[in-house]
């Protein structure tokens, strides 16, 4: 039996009687995974995050952390859990070091750990500066450092790369992957960016309008999104149209020299191009229109149309 760090069984939540914010959310986060929690803004990600951290009290008893009901473990379960919920919670009037010192005091961690963790998020140089002078990225990194400080078994991160520049995003991603590999930290990370999740997660679930749309490993996700829509720019498109229609589905001409069609997956694209070139086609451009991203969009849009 797999060891689940987080487990929810039909988690429901509503602020008022008629509006359910979360409906029957059941997720299982295996130990040692990087679990992506994906969904557009307003899908219920933050509510789920807040429920998982007990910031808002649960209406029921559906959440288990470390195989124990969450409510019974509050607040001491947090000695094993580091979290970053919503906008980074920092004390702007304090220096980076003092912010960490505050967490260290609450968690009973020695002060030596502070510099180590600062180095980990690359803030050693700025430790003595006040947090209010930090850039958005630095604040985000400091907040992550505060979550990491006690080397928790579980990290709950809500949109951790929000507001970071590309380099920062890459750094954080590397850091998380490293923590996961080296220290076996289970990471639960929410995001509205599929690309972000795609790049680091081992497991993923998709939520929209308070309902769970998908849960599985990354491989299962790829399989589920097992088609790829591409657009090619090609001379003499009219002639090519019937030829392509024979071998591929959904072939449509959208402009004089542009055709869209579906192929099995991304991996099939090189062979597809070779094949066309072998037939002397003049190809100017091949573009993936519709990958996992598009699938994700349909998944989440579908719901919208359902409701209307």
């Amino acid at each position: 039996m797999t060891d689940y760090i987080i487990q929810t069984e039909a988690l429901n939540f509503q602020y008022s009687k008629d509006k359910k914010v979360l409906e029957n959310i059941s997720i299982k986060v295996p130990k040692g995974s990087i679990y992506g929690f994906l969904g557009p803004n307003g899908a219920g990600k933050s509510t789920t995050m807040r429920l998982l951290t007990g910031i808002i009290p649960e209406q029921g008893n559906a959440i288990k952390l470390f195989n124990q009901p969450l409510q019974k473990q509050l607040p001491f379960v947090f000695s094993k859990v580091g979290s970053l919920v919503e906008s980074p919670a920092l004390y702007l009037h304090l220096s980076g070091i003092d912010n960490l010192r505050y967490i260290a005091k609450l968690r009973g961690i020695s002060e030596e750990k502070i510099h180590e963790t600062l180095a980990l998020v690359d803030l050693t140089q700025d430790g003595k500066r006040k947090a209010k002078q930090y850039s958005l990225g630095m604040k985000q990194r400091l907040a992550i450092a505060m979550a990491l400080l006690s080397e928790p078994e579980l990290l709950l991160l809500d949109e951790p790369v929000n507001g970071l520049d590309p380099n920062g995003i890459i750094d954080i991603r590397k850091l998380l992957i490293r923590l996961n590999k080296e220290k076996g930290v289970t990471i639960f990370v929410s995001s509205h960016l599929l690309s972000e999740i795609e790049k680091m997660c081992t497991h993923v679930s998709i939520i929209n309008k308070g309902k769970l749309r998908f849960e599985g490993t990354m491989q299962e996700l790829s399989k589920a999104a097992s088609f790829c829509k591409i657009q090619i720019t090609i001379d003499d498109a009219e002639n090519w149209l019937p030829k392509l229609e024979n071998s591929y589905s959904n072939v449509k001409m959208i402009a004089q020299n542009q055709i869209v069609l579906n192929i099995q997956n991304k991996e099939a694209i090189p062979d597809f191009i070779k094949n066309l070139i072998a037939q002397n086609a003049a190809i100017y451009e091949v573009k993936i229109l519709d990958g996992l991203e598009e699938w994700f969009m349909t998944l989440t849009n579908e719901k919208r149309t359902d409701e209307n």
């Binding site: 607040p75 906008s87 004390y91 505050y102 609450l106």
Partner: protein, 740 residues
Amino acid sequence: MKINISNFITALKAEHIKKRGTGMYYTSAIIGAISPILFFIVLLIESTDEIKSELPYNYYLKFIENTLQPFAYFFFPLLIIITVSRITQLDHKNGGWQLMETQPTQKFSIYFSKFFTVLIANTISIIFFVFVSILCAWLLSFFVTVPKMAIMEFPVIEIIHTGTRLFVASLLVTIIQFIISVLISSFIWSVIIGFFGLLLTIFLKPFDLVPVWYPYEILSKIAVNHKGSDLGYWFTFTEYISVTLGIILLYIGFNWYRYKTLKLAFNSPLKISKLFVVIFFFGGLTYWLLRPNQMPDYDKTVFCGRIESSEKFQNIYIKDNTIQDTIAVIPIKNNEFHYVLKEKVITDNYTFIIDHKFQGNVFFGQQDSIYLDGKIAESKSEFKLKGTRLAENQMNDNAKVNWNMASYYLQENVNLDKPQIIIEAIYKGWKKETEAANTFKTVDNYIPKNDYTERRQKLITTNYLNMWNDLLKKRSALYPNEKTNGGPQIVEIQKKLSLTDESLLSSTDYFDYVKSQLIAKNNQDIDENTKAVLAISKLKNGSFKDKMLFWQISKSIEEASTSNERNQFVAKYNSQFSNNDYRKKINNLNAIAESLGKGKPAPVFEATNVDGNKVSLVGLKGKYVLIDVWATWCGPCRQQSPYFEKFALKYKKENIQFVALSTDENVQKWFISAKSKSKTVLQWHTDNSKLFATNYDLETIPRFILIDPKGNFVNAKLPYPSDVSFEILLRKALHLPEEG
């Protein structure tokens, strides 16, 4: 439990890391120091070296008491509002509440570590307030002359007392601000609510509408009653209320925070029953504290006490206020006394007199135990009456002169043509004042016994009925043909007052009212005094009649214009008394009035002049003598003295000698003061002021006495020299023509 405490301590330490750089504790220290420093500066600029005669007091304590007002009324509550707002804003602004809740820290620790930090800030402020006060007072002693009656000891216990009272009294304000500031994330609301609460006290205070449990009122009470409980308790009842109400609110506030909404906080039977236990217990305590107490009767009638003074005193006389009859002479030993009154004492106001020099008013009666706590230094005295009539005597001392519309109308003759308006004003004023008579309570929540309250209400009723009589009189003079009808309102007031209540006859107001009712129907064309005495003599014999008659005859003696008229009057009615004491007393009064009358010889007295020689009136025979009786400590005397000297210079060439006769206890003070006065006026000092006072019926000073060249009175009670009639009478006596 152990985990809880260590978790709390960890949170508290973390809280102190968090507040780094905010300077919160420095703010507390500075705000604590503001009011003493301001007071110090004011004293430095404003201080005059004039030394007023005062009772001994602790120099440092007095400084603290003076600075307490701005601190307890304004700076301290201000600090609480600021501190609480800042400490909660640290987390509201930065998402700290969520951060803290995702740490292994109990909500109890989160909530109370913050609250405790506020309490530390309060304590720092109080400590700085006290110490800066002492420091400023000490510094001041180098710049300003310290009065010699000031005691320079450090009042350690009193400081701790004031400090702890401030701390406890501030709890309720702190708790309320804290609860609001935690729940409302906007900083502006908690500040607005705080300031509103603070200002509301100031607005409502003049109308007496501030309830005793009002948080800011509890705090400001410290400045009003800096000595605290009258009964020797460390805290007063309002300070206990600060704690009991505070605990209830803190319990609700914490659970509200813990479960995010009030509904979630109390949604299960267990939570509700816990809440009920808390409310029941602490609410019950609050109710018990708020309920007013009345002193129980004592099994004997006791008058005891202690006088703090460097002098030694012999006796205390207790006299009734009607005929000045001495009902007890109590010996004082080592300035302490204890006396059981064996005879029945009618519950009433009495005068206590210590060795003929110091006196005060005391309300007591049968089965009361009165403790007199007195302080006497030279001519100054202060008396506090404790025991079973604590509240009554405090209420007597604090009696406010009530301004009311009706008396204004009557005084200024406004609206006399519209009696209904005045009747309305009388009724309203009466209603309000009789109700207000029920509202007095002491610092320890003791209220007067019912007999006192009822009596007071009767006296108020008397006062208003006298106004009504006044109105009738004025109306009948102005509009003789119109009838003035009091209507149901006046009837309602009249119903409340009996016309034969002997216990009220120590009040001349009641006498006036009864008299007015007795003579109301007499339309004969004779003067009021005659009408009254005729009516009184028709009353049934007994003590009520005696008292009425006594008032009336003494009034007539005072108002009689000739010796003959007075003697006739006394001779005619003095036989009507049932009680011989009254007769004797009237004869006495008459004798004194007689002895001070025009043409009677002025009693001889001995005195000393500035050169230390014995002098007396005998040496001034052949000249008119105008005497100004005064003392250095007497303010009105100092005021009149320049006028007196002016006339002395003006009439220097006439056959008259001006004499300033001092009755000072302290000869040294008189000497210094007399040396600096005009040489035209002879400066004398009485050798026996008691004897002088008796012989000359000296009730108040300054007193101006004119004696003719033969040594007989021209006028024993001249008006003040500042009065125009003074000079007219003087010129008349000297047979000088009127001035153009």
